[in-house]
Symmetry: C2
Subunit: 195 residues, 2 copies
DNA sequence: TTCATTTTAGACCGATCGGTCACAAATGAT
DNA sequence: ATCATTTGTGACCGATCGGTCTAAAATGAA
């Protein structure tokens, strides 16, 4: 009986995400979101809540996708090391790809909002915890299949991987070349590779 | 003959830096800067230019201080590895220290502004280049005095150190504990330590 | 067709944004 | 004491901020 919605919710979230991802939270205005999504202000507020709620929705979406990508990356690989290499190389790439230097939405948000926004902090910490669980599984598998050093401590190694990935994403904001990114990825892998 | 200035320029820059460092560029308003520095709006503009120019002044100041700290850290140490350890540990610490989680002003700025601000990008790239020069010197010294692996490639190792330090700074924004930070610092050192 | 219901559009809101400017205050030189 | 010069102050500017709200449009049910 009601009037049907004219927009596709998923698509709007994608478009809004692109804005937040490229420009951050503070530098993205509601007008920019209206233009990017094609929706009028009223529709955005009715459909997605205020600016902050919309931001969280796009962030959660991004994080879920990131975990999915990591899971796939690890599962599809021949051994743990190959999966890890692929993941590190993927994280060394986006900088060169998009001239936008938008880096990683999660890292951008951690830097901009985490210190003063408890909800964002909770969401990002939860994501970090889940990612490190996946890293741990990968490391354990690598120890078993011999592709990673046998003396690695999985939780410790997971935090190590997290750190290197964050570092690559920051470098990408300054315009790291693909070649140098791959070099660093290789170095990270070497620090954990089996004999 | 003119009326003398009533404020101390260095002190004002310090206070403005604290604001930008904690809240970033966009989230820091001129009113916040007025309150933080105690200067009226007109004085800020007359003395330091507009918001962007003031920001750059505080950033440059921060970067110079950072390079100085690294230089001292390396020179004062008994050997290259000790200096590098000290530097990595210092970078694993600030997170825990200030409940503000303000992290590293350079990393914060790289993430927030570098993609869309050519001047900032130039300043930060120049700083990165200088820092890596210092890292390279440190690595070369470490190869000579035997405290670092002999097969390290200095430019490569310098980028590696940069990456890890960036990663530590991002983790600090989410509230990394001092203990876990030190653990990662140790891991980074191990990846370069001499036999 | 009429009605209840929901979406859409955009005018409108007070607050705040970064930035300017005119004027008062403070100095040393004369 | 007067004057040229520079600093300090805060009122003021138009623009834009995030957010609200009313009214028109679009539907299915009755």
């Amino acid at each position: 009986m009601p009037r049907p919605r004219e927009y596709d919710e998923d698509q709007v979230l994608e478009l809004a995400m692109a804005q937040f991802w490229s420009h951050g939270y503070e530098a993205t205005s509601m007008s920019a979101l209206m233009e990017a999504t094609g929706l009028a202000k009223g529709s955005l507020y009715k459909g997605f809540g205020d600016k902050h709620q919309l931001f969280v929705k796009t962030l959660v979406r991004y994080l879920e996708r990131g975990r999915h990508a990591l899971r796939e990356c690890i599962e599809d690989a021949d051994d743990a090391r190959a999966g890890l290499r692929r993941w590190l190389e993927d994280n060394a790439e986006p900088a060169a790809h998009d001239g936008l230097r938008r880096g990683c939405f999660a890292v951008n948000t951690a830097v901009e909002l985490a210190p003063h926004d408890a909800e964002i902090r909770r969401v990002l910490r939860d994501h970090e915890r889940r990612m490190e669980k996946l890293y741990q599984d990968c490391v354990r598998r690598g120890i078993e299949d011999g592709s990673l050093r046998a003396d690695l401590d999985p939780p410790n190694a997971a935090r190590w991987i997290t750190t290197v990935v964050y570092g690559l994403q920051v470098r990408s904001k300054l315009g790291m070349s693909h070649t140098l990114g791959l070099e660093t990825a290789a170095q990270a892998l070497d620090s954990m590779a089996g004999a």
